[in-house]
Symmetry: C2
Subunit: 99 residues, 2 copies
């Protein structure tokens, strides 16, 4: 078997990261609010540390939890990753335009 | 600076992979049909090689191209990655249930 491509590695990583945090308590196929906060602080500390508003993570969880069951399933988790990637990509493009 | 977490690396990889393929011809902020096919064959060859129906990539492109401009922007590209990740995750969960 050939080694995985960057895209394949990335898909595997997203699944592994989700399962790591979703497995911490209760239902292991969803992220509870506590698991979501642990994930955000451990994996996206650079983002959470810059937030001065303590309510931002609460509001993110509410917005991501599309079916309002108090849990994030894998699709809802991917919407978070996608949203952050789009934000990074946009700021990268606008930085490029300055030069 | 501390080394990036797995999630941060993954977000960076998705942006880098998109830019690599989007930059091959014409508009470098979107994937043309040709760039999409190159991406699929190079990065997701394990998926494309197993497709016996030659029209599957055409139909995927049409389905992903939400605004029907013949190009995939970064958000549309992320929907592809998300769709594949959800499919992988689901097959992983159903494989687990068998044991």
């Amino acid at each position: 078997m050939s080694s995985p491509t960057e895209t394949e590695r990335c898909i595997e990583s997203l699944i592994a990261v989700f399962q790591k945090y979703a497995g911490k308590d209760g239902n292991s196929v969803t992220l509870s609010k506590t698991e979501f906060l642990t994930f955000m602080n451990k994996e996206l500390g650079a983002f959470t540390k810059n937030q001065k508003d303590p309510g931002v993570l609460d509001r993110m969880m509410k917005k991501l939890d599309l079916n309002s069951d108090g849990q994030l399933d894998f699709q809802e988790f991917l919407n978070l990753i996608g949203g952050l990637a789009v934000a990074c990509h946009s700021s990268f493009l606008s930085a490029q335009k300055r030069f």
